[in-house]
Amino acid sequence: MSSINPGLILVIGAVLVPLLPQTLRRWYLLALPVVGFIQVHTLADGTSVTMDMLGMTLEVLRVDGLSRVWGYIFNIAAFLSMLFAWHDKDTMQQVSAPIYAGAAIGAVFAGDLVTLFVYWELTAISSVFLIWASRTERAYKTGMRYLLIQVGSGVILLAGVLLWYAKTGSIDFGKIGIGTLAGNLIFIAFGIKCAFPLLHNWLQDAYPEATVTGTVVLSAFTTKLAVYALARGFAGTEVLIYVGATMTAFPIFYAVIENDLRRVLAYSLNNQLGFMVVGIGIGTELSLNGTASHAFSHILYKALLFMSMGAVLFRTGTCKGSELGGLYKSMPWTTGFCIVGAASISAFPLFSGFVSKSMIMTAAAADHRWFVWGVLLFASAGVFHHSGIKIPYFAFFAHDSGKRVKEAPWNMLLAMGLTAFLCIFIGVYPKALYDILPFPVDYVPYTTAHVITQLQLLMFSALAFTVLMLYKIYPPELKSTNLDTDWFYRKLFPCVLGWGGSVIRKVDRMIREEALTVLGDLTAMIERQHGDGAPISKTMQAGTMALIVLSILFLFLIVTLIA
């Protein structure tokens, strides 16, 4: 047990799931992440297990402060999402979810790039089933797009790893850095899964199409695994600061006008990743602690928000802002838990986001990056605006849709309740989180100035929302699709390909028709010469032949005589 990668507990454990009866299966699925968590906890820092394969030394297990944080939170997230999915008897999801979670955990404890690659691809392949499990034509197509991009990230990673090995002779997963082709390829592979700007759209495309429970699972692992990989390989890479700052800002514009509330959450997920990426780019102990702690609290509140919207979808059959409203009357507990998630992502004092995001903000300020800091502050206000207010407001309050449904099932409420508890616990007692961070923490979140300035920022954002609502300036929720980068590969490329195809078809047709006419003319000519009754193929009588030959001989005689 001591030398097993904790991820394998879930991956191998998942294989047995179909053999168990449903009643046992649920308990078993809950037990897997518990065992995984204990395994992470018992592994000592510095543990390393190597294995020789094909002349390479693979480090299949490596434990240090950074991987431990992710190991803990990934197991917690797996447990909470299994509990949220307790009612669901879909074998496809019951197998793919633990494999996916286990693969992400396995990747976190991978000491070398080849092992990382194997788990990296496994997360892609296992997670797509959570989308396909919706079993609609739309989900099938979305899943195919998702899979292409995810596997593509893996292929780029593999190319980078091979070049890196050729260059350095080592496959150790440590600091990589950009500047070399190998480094850049690995950087892009990580960047795709981390939803960098312009590489991001698979996230907003795919997550809202997954099942009620599938989205909760998806929200936790892929992108945060990418954050972990960036933190290990590219800490202190300057460009990440700007990439991250862009990520915090641009998705929130989309979030404001998006109607599908799970897609709004996908945009805000993207925005929160930006904070973590900025933390990695700054690369100081404070900022990296900030990234790790923010990943930890983010996984919880984001799961909580997706759970609450999942519960709404489960009960009402829709997650569109234009069709919802007034649900607080029939789903009061879900409303309450959603508000806790909203307060946490908005970084209200006493909620988890307050103690983690501020470390990154402080690190940016301490680095005298006023512009980046300003963008992050804007994004902080914006995230409250679209996630903190918009999500609970349009789902549970706003205009009463008249929908009266049952409260969410007990298992969903329990999962949301536990997650909400953790969000508040971290906010109230940050030391519990700070103690497991990779570097010693010398940061005090609760100062008078921090609490008041943060409250000012948030309450005045709320004021802006209220004023815009009162004056009816706020854009109403409309049934719509908003164009994002997926337009290029869902509309433009098919269009260009279609147009190119039609041009090629036309030219091809012209050439063929021309060739046919030429051939036709040729056969007609041959027909004229050699056809039935044509001069060449005429049959003649023997007498006629003899006469012709005689005439020729006679002519020959005369010519000879004259000459």
Partner: protein, 91 residues
């Protein structure tokens, strides 16, 4: 997916159904905001940047940026919004 029961008759009156109470919530928000704005006079800041020292900087920044965000997003709708089945048509 279960329980599609739109527009059922719900005789129960909720506290927020009364516009007067919604007004109370809004007034409470205004009061809280005013209080927070005034609070800037009563504590010592540890600013990293000069702008942070301006009176009520965070409050003004939060308000202005959020209004800007919403107006910009509204403008984006003009260019980016399509109907719901946009991608389903000839994919």
């Amino acid at each position: 997916m279960s329980e599609h029961t739109p527009n059922v008759h719900d005789p129960k009156k909720y506290w927020l159904d009364d516009p007067k109470n919604v007004r109370k919530v809004i007034i409470a928000l205004f009061v809280v905001c005013a209080g927070l704005f005034a609070a800037d006079a009563f504590y010592h800041k540890h600013p990293h940047f000069a702008a942070e020292e301006w009176f009520g900087f965070y409050a003004i920044y939060g308000f202005v940026m959020c209004v800007g965000l919403v107006l910009a997003a509204k403008l984006m709708r003009v260019f980016l919004m399509r109907d719901e089945e946009y991608y389903d048509k000839n994919e």
